[in-house]
């Protein structure tokens, strides 16, 4: 039976894969996908099983295409759909990827009992089919293959329900939502705004190429241009005219034709914006200078310098030079570089806005808003505090300071007695009296006694092992001790797991994850107050028994060396499982006797699970 999981509008590109595109509706289930044309005349509807699909491809460009191919490459025969929305495409793509992945993993695609990937559980209010939630879960599963395996084993295997599985993982989902993109992308260090003209070599024409990204950078690095753009476009001139003017000014500047640039600027006041010194930058600098690190504030230094009052000091002594030409400050590449670097460091003020693809007007507007917001959010006190901290950092010599204690999280134990008792209890039970508690003298005495008794009685009544076996054991032990002494510390990073073959390792880790998950749910069921919980516990117990036998078999089947290691590894799992199963059975008995007391005896259910013995 097919449950449609997805239903979106998609155009089918026809058997040739090239079009013409026919509008229709695409429905996907776990086993097959269907496409029905909107107009009956268009094309025959499709109804294809996923098992015939071998690979899928999607487009990176503007068109949202999905190619489900019967062969292993994109050119092979297949079905191409075009979507109106990239998000629809991505959803379908993810779904297909999942199914195809399952096919290639598990051989036969769908066991009859296979449930839809995200199974809606009827009846529970919170389990309303929430598309956004589902997307998030899907995404998480895709990024985390371990989780995916666990999910496929437990949920799709029917042991746990979808909600139960996700209930414990709410934080993962939430994190995923709040985190957004993993890292903020900064600006590129390359100077985009430094557009270089292209010549075609034959005519005198030069071409400038401006992309929205470049324009964005020009706006941030040259606020005067940004302001001029906001003021003049489109009221006074068109965008093309504006950029033509800009490029003209740039070209004149680039060809070192300062005089021509100045002349042009004098003629055209709009053009003058591009050649003049940027007053916005100057104002900004004046503001910023107040909060620089005092250990490098050279402006303050200048204000303290009375030796170089105008007319004082040496003017031209060979070590200093003045590049001021008659008091006019010329724009130089150095200013541009400094400005660029400053902007790059400030980061991208248009976070989250699609810079690419947006037109320049929106970029300009958005930038203005972002800058305003930034200016508003500055806090003087905080800056002052930071300034002082940096000063401290700059003057402190940590080399001469005593060793600092490594930062640690203090251990908090709510009830120390309980904690230590629980620690001590197993030790007390497991072994004989702990040797540490014995007085050394006492120990010596007891040893002496034993020695004396041996001397007197000989070793006749002791159980003797055969010398060859004893020797073998001793050699083995010695070798092990020697080996561990040799390897200890040097191969600290080496894990027992690493020495296992990969298949077994993967299997083990997956099983242990599954067991943990099951145990968590199992213990969460207690006390079994309702029938639902009882059923769940029973179901979980069965699953656990299965894993138990599985692990047992695995251990048995492993060869020589590995067997020991595997048994070591699974030991804790077995312990945990034993504890759970014993608890379940005891509880079972208690319940049975209780119900027996209430009702007539003999109505017990059959006992669950064979008693399993730990090897």
């Amino acid at each position: 039976m097919d449950v449609p999981v997805l239903k979106v509008n998609a155009k089918y590109m026809g058997p040739s894969k090239k079009g013409p595109a026919m509008a229709g509706v695409l429905t996907m289930s776990d086993t097959r996908f269907k496409w029905t044309p909107n107009y009956a005349s268009g094309s025959a509807p499709l109804n294809i099983e996923f098992s015939v699909i071998k690979a899928h491809f999607f487009s990176k460009g503007k068109k949202a295409l999905l190619n489900l191919s019967k062969g292993s490459d994109a050119k092979a025969e297949g079905y191409v759909f075009e979507y109106d929305d990239v998000r629809d495409r991505d959803m379908c793509r993810d779904h297909v990827a999942k199914i195809l992945g399952k096919q290639s993993n598990g051989g036969a695609p769908a066991a009859p009992a296979m449930k839809p990937l995200i199974a809606p559980v009827a009846g529970s209010q919170s389990d309303q089919f929430d598309r956004a939630e589902m997307e998030r879960r899907l995404k998480l599963l895709q990024t985390d293959s371990e989780l995916q395996k666990l999910h496929s084993e437990l949920v799709i295997g029917g042991v746990l329900s979808e909600t139960e599985f996700w209930a414990a993982r709410k934080h993962m989902l939430e994190e995923d939502v709040t985190r957004g993109p993993k890292q903020r992308t900064g600006l590129k260090t390359a100077m985009l705004a430094d557009v270089r003209p292209l010549t075609d070599g034959r005519t005198n024409k030069v071409t400038f190429n401006l992309t929205p990204e470049i324009i964005h950078q020009i706006f941030t690095e040259k606020p005067a241009v940004h302001r001029a753009f906001l003021q003049n476009v489109p009221t006074k001139m068109s965008e093309v005219e504006f950029w033509t003017k800009y490029c003209r000014a740039e070209y004149l500047y680039r060809t070192k034709n300062q005089a021509a640039a100045a002349a042009e600027a004098a003629d055209d006041e709009d053009l003058a914006v591009f050649t003049r010194e940027d007053d916005i930058i100057q104002n900004e600098a004046r503001k910023k200078i107040k909060r620089v690190d005092p250990t490098l504030d050279m402006a303050a230094d200048m204000a303290d310098d009375y030796t170089h009052l105008p007319g004082h000091g040496t003017y031209r002594d060979g070590s200093k030079e003045e590049t001021e030409y008659n008091g006019v400050k010329l724009r130089s590449i150095m200013n541009d570089i400094n400005r660029h670097a400053a902007v790059v460091l400030e980061g991208r003020p248009l976070d989250g806005l699609p810079v690419a693809g947006a037109d320049t007007a929106t970029v300009a507007q958005a930038l203005a808003i972002a800058q305003q917001a930034q200016a508003d959010s500055e806090n003087i006190d905080e800056l002052e505090q930071k300034r002082l901290e940096r000063l401290r950092d700059m003057t402190l010599n940590d080399d001469l300071q005593g060793p600092q204690e490594a930062p640690h999280v203090p251990l908090t134990i709510q009830d120390p007695r309980k904690y230590f008792d629980s620690q001590a209890a197993p030790a007390g039970e497991s072994g004989p009296a702990a040797p540490t508690s014995m007085d050394p003298g006492e120990a010596l005495d007891s040893f002496h006694e034993q020695l004396v008794s041996w001397k007197r009685n000989g070793l006749q009544n002791c159980l003797l092992v055969s010398p060859s076996l004893a020797l073998k054991i001793m050699t083995d032990l010695t070798r092990e001790v020697a080996a561990s002494k040799f390897t200890l510390g040097r191969t600290a990073e080496k894990n027992v797991l690493d020495s296992l073959p990969k298949a077994i390792k993967d299997e083990l880790s997956q099983q242990s994850a599954a067991v943990h998950e099951l145990l968590r749910h199992f213990w969460a069921c207690y006390p079994l107050t309702s029938k639902f919980l009882l059923e769940k516990a029973t179901r979980l117990k069965q699953a656990m028994s299965k894993i138990y036998t599985h692990l047992g078999k695995m251990k048995e089947s492993a060869s020589g060396d590995l067997r020991h290691q595997i048994s070591q590894l699974v030991q804790p799992i077995f312990h945990a499982l034993d504890a759970a199963i014993t608890h379940f059975e005891e509880d079972e008995k208690r319940r049975a006797s209780k119900s027996a007391q209430k009702q007539a005896p003999g109505q017990q259910n059959g006992s669950y699970g064979a008693k399993l013995v730990a090897a």
């Binding site: 050279m298 007319g311 460091l345």
Partner: protein, 752 residues
Amino acid sequence: MKFKIEGLTVYFPYEYIYPEQYQYMLELKRALDAKGHCLLEMPTGTGKTITLLSLITSYQLANPVGKLIYCTRTVHEMEKVLDELRRLHAFQEKEIGKEAAKILALGLSSRKNLCIHPVVSGEGSRESVDAGCRKLTASWVRLAAVDNPNIETCDFFENYEKKGADALLPPGVYTLHELRNFGREKGWCPYFLARHMIQFANIVVYNYQYMLDPKVAGIISRELEKECIVVFDEAHNIDNVCIEALSVNIRQQTLEGATRNLNKISQVIDKFKSTDANRLRQEYNRLVEGLAQRGDLPLADHWLANPVLPDDILKEAVPGNIRRAEHFVAFLKRLVQYIKGRLLTDVVESEGPVSFLTSLGRECSIDQKALRFCYDRLTSLLETLEITDTDEFLHIQAVCDFGTLIGTYQRGFAIIIEPYDDRMPNIPDPVLQLSCLDASLAIKPVFERFQSVVITSGTLSPLDLYPRLLSFNPVIFKSFTMTLTRDCLCPMILTRGSDQLPVSTKFDMRSDPGVVRNYGRLLLEMVAAVPDGVVCFFVSYSYMDGIINSWNEMGILQEVMQHKLVFIETQDVVETTLALDNYRRACDCGRGAVFFSVARGKVAEGIDFDKHYGRLVIMYGIPFQYTLSKILRARLEYLRETFQIKEGDFLTFDAVRQAAQCVGRVIRSKADYGMMIFADKRYNRHDKRSKLPGWIQTHLRDAHLNLSTDMSLHIAREFLRKMAQPHELLGLVIATACGRYHFCTEGSLPRF
């Protein structure tokens, strides 16, 4: 920790001390005991400042000496010193209790940096803030304000004045910022408060010029007692500061301004004549009595003091020919006219003050005696005329300073008239330069007046040159070596590019495209291999400008930008400061950055590039002075005649100390590490290399000489790999006499 040096208990705010710091304290203490001057060289990166502060404050606690006057080159160094002092003070308080450790330490700077008046402090330049302050605080303004409430005064100054002697700073350590905050809190003017508090302070931190430049020192440092201990930190450039302090230059703009000023003064005189002739008469009488300066001038009326040294100021009646205001104005007009005429020359002229005075007397009948009183007469006049906008009158001030200086000194000065800059012969820019040639002149009164003067820096080699340049006899002069637990310095001398062609900034080679490209490739290879911050120093602004433009055209700059952000020092200090701030942030956030700077520039003088802010410095070329400069020529000649210092020796000494200063910026503590590349083939020559300070030479192994770009890249990679290993301080802990633990790194142990 607390320990004893020859019976003196020293409080040192760290748990460990380097052996050279201990040695340094020992020598310093001996100099203080002997009440003499000393010259101490200790490599950068060994915590000189804290050593000095720690010993001297401990010495102050134990002995009745005067205050510590700590002179720094820059304001940001001042802030650092005060911050270290705060740490030290906190430690002393902990050790000996709050009462006993009570000190008052403060930094002093100009009005521009201290003013909190909302309008005046917003003024752009230093001069306009000074003038703005004077407009609100001059005695006659305040007097007038009493009657006329519409006249604006400064509330902060008024509040401070009202408090009188009660306006005191409580003990503590005050940076400029804290002074301002304190001022705001109390409503007192921080600038005048700080100046007043100097006499009560135990430690004063200020700029060199407050001690060396008579114009400023005459106001600020007049009343310091003889027992003071004066420290000049980072003093490798002290000779240049001394020379600058006594030099005057007069350009066409100066003369035009001076003429304007004189016209304005004449107008005001005329006005006064009609309204308040009495005032001018009073001034005349005062001058007859020989009181050029009234002794009891109100605090705020002081402007700049006499440009000549305190001992040389004449204390007699102002000569008759300039006593009358209009006579003095005519006198100055003649002087300005004469200088104007001299500036019209097409050839470079150079003469001594004596011949200049002779021709001055012959052509405009201006005599030497009257010239000497130029400055005093002008200040008296400006004050009489109640002129407050001092920033407008700087031009005539410069002319008068010139007159007073040549009237006073006949030796150690030269007058050089240049019609244009040699490097730009097409642009006429005539300048008359009165150049001081003898660095010892300005510092002489300091040595004579104060009991102990400490001159210290990371690079004072060759040590014997400084006593000659400054003509003093230190009781102790010593250079300390650096003990290192690992080779955390890696100097290299690069002589060739990857193509094996030599690189140099020698005049005939520097614009060769091959050299420019090789220099660019070197940077490119290095930014790709070195993490965090890289600093490049060039020999001059014009050279840097040229090479950056070439790199930009060659596309090298763009490639460098693929690896790191680029920041550049420009002539605009505000822009440079912001660039530096951004540079640090780029290093902090891990993006990494390159800073292009100029040797002898502001950045090379006082900015640290320690830790990750500078893992590599590249010194492009040898920063020689422009040897064709007439002023430099005159100075070299003077040095040869008076001190028998050879020209070549001095030039090399000067260039190499600048280079060493540049590269020394990368290391500030021994846990730090950094590489230094000297990229010029001339560094490989022994005469240059041997002038590098000892702490660089000891690390300059033979394998690091005469390298090409690829070889140096290899060494750099090796070095970085080695330094990236976890670093443990291998040290010995030995018990000292006082029972405390005393830490010594491997190497020399202090003797007890």
